[in-house]
Amino acid sequence: MTAKQMKCTIRSIAPVGNYLHLVLDAPEVTEVQPGHFAAVAVGGVGGGMLLRRAFSIHKSIPGDSIEIIFAPHGQGTQWLATQGAGDVIDVIAPLGKPFVLPRQPIPCVIVAGGYGAAPMEILARELRIRGCRVDVVLGAATQEKLFGVLDLKGVADSVIVTTDDGTSGVRGRVTDVLGELIQKNNSQAVYACGPMPMLQAVAKVSQDNGAFSQCAVEESMACGIGVCMTCVLPVIGDDGVTRMSRSCVDGPVFRGDRVRWDDVNTVPSDAFGAPRPGGH
């Protein structure tokens, strides 16, 4: 379906660990695929915050509701946290290119950092429906910042938890256990969502162990619909040419081996249309 701009009534908003779980009436949203996101207007009509906040869609009941998970760490998300059941917010969804699902029942790994796990339960279900083995690695700095552990345990073949401080699961990073997991299960595809440094590491470990990776990136966006050109990152296209691609419409899901992770926040000199010596 194409994206819809909607006034959505909040059905519920409740804390989950360090995050908030928002359930919205969204009768106009008839189809959500894992990796789609929603862009939420914050601050109310006439308020001082003009730009939407983008969140991956956690779950959806077609024709009924969508759910998102967010961390109230900025001015906009803090405003959102003050909203309650019955309040109405302006939402655009579904947006972006979702995860590409395999045609064959191949073994897959899902990797997520913190609330990057939000879209992963519905992804795990889709993969299981296709007969895929699904192993999951969930990481966070500390136990309270983990998300979706129990839900994913109910869907996946296995779930490994890592925390930087060892308060839950294995002490360390998701990539400390990922390589071995791929080898053990002969995993062919790795699906990842989380902070950019984690995605970069996941893409590398996946490639080193012979698996394809798809990463849902986190770039700050102004519009979420492809018009503002702020959320770009250097991505290699099918033709081998690097372009400054929009994470909102060309992503947020990119092949891990196509993102030039070391060059994020720069314009590589060989990118399409890059400045030539002496200026543009």
């Binding site: 003009l50 939407r52 619909i225 050109m229 702020t230």
Partner: protein
């Protein structure tokens, strides 16, 4: 009875008073899922250049109170791809199209105008002589009356079409009326005002400017009074000059301020990022604002604030 919202910019008749602002709606296609783009006054395209251009490094955006800074740096596909893809889409969808052009130097502006003069589907030209996101502030032609006029003269000399040529002006000047006068003498059919104001946000955790390009263009409702003032001044000095007004318009009420100051039509910019339906909504609201005040048409309100 509903108010007549038709208007014009020079020879270009507009069926609706709201246009998209350059750089805020790409080339229209992305907005099509939120409304019928052919019912807008026009789509003003993101500024197109001769060559493909990657733009500046990220971060390219910082939200500010009632506004934002951007430092996109004119990312775009270049004129060839624009004609083949973007303009073709606009034509196929019957969209009134004002093409915004930007050049690294005077000759490039001329070359772009020469190319666009030969193709169908260009209903107007907006000459972006005021983008602040370029390496050299010397390239902001609109900051100097002579360079501004030089660009316009060059464009005019190859533009053998009735479609209006508009010069997009920067508010970052001592006297915007002087710049407007110089582009009028050089042959523009109208002016678009205002472009963004040059600004900066500093990240005090990293102790460096937040934007990859360090400085950026400030837009949004925060700059609206600057735009209204600039339009008021230029209309006072040049009452017959068509003005396309833009700068932080968020509601029909805001748009009415611009019309009363002297704009004949308005472009909706930054607000589209938060509300992609805004160009249509604001046109409706403007109609209601006119009707509630007893006006029968938009045209009768253009510049009306100068009478009192």
């Amino acid at each position: 009875m509903s108010a007549d919202l038709t208007t014009s910019l020079g020879s270009l008749q507009l069926s609706a008073p709201t246009l998209t602002a350059s750089g805020c709606a790409a080339a229209g296609k992305e907005l099509a899922q939120f409304g019928d783009v052919s019912t807008l006054g026009a789509v003003v395209t993101k500024s197109i250049m001769m060559e493909p251009r990657s733009g500046r490094p990220t971060p390219r955006m910082a939200e500010t109170p009632s506004g934002m800074l951007n430092s996109i740096g004119l990312q775009g596909p270049g004129i060839e791809s624009f004609l083949e893809n973007d303009l073709a889409w606009l034509r196929a969808n019957n969209v009134t199209t004002i093409v915004s052009i930007a050049g690294n130097n005077v000759d490039e502006f001329g070359e772009l105008a020469r190319i666009l003069a030969k193709v169908e589907g260009v209903d107007g030209l907006e000459v972006n002589i005021s983008c602040p996101n370029v390496e050299s502030r010397g390239q902001v032609f609109a900051c100097n009356p002579h360079s501004a006029a030089q660009v316009i003269e060059t464009v005019r000399s190859v533009w053998h079409s009735d479609a209006p040529v508009l010069a997009k002006l920067s508010p970052d000047v001592t006297d915007i009326v002087e710049i407007a006068q110089s582009v009028v003498e050089a042959g523009v059919d109208g002016v678009s005002m205002i472009n963004t104001l040059l600004g900066m946000v500093i990240d005090v955790d990293q102790m460096k400017p937040m934007l990859g390009g360090r400085t950026g263009g400030l837009s949004g409702p925060a700059i609206r009074p600057v735009a209204v003032r600039a339009i008021y001044q230029v209309h006072a000095a040049l009452p017959h000059l068509p003005i396309l007004g833009m700068g932080g318009i968020r509601t029909g009420h805001d748009a009415l301020e611009f019309i009363a100051a002297g704009a004949s039509a308005v472009s909706i910019g930054t607000v589209v990022f938060g509300d992609p339906g805004a160009p249509w909504r604001i046109a409706n609201e403007l109609g209601q604002e006119l009707e509630s005040r007893g006006y029968n048409s938009l045209r009768e309100v253009i510049g009306l604030a100068h009478q009192n």
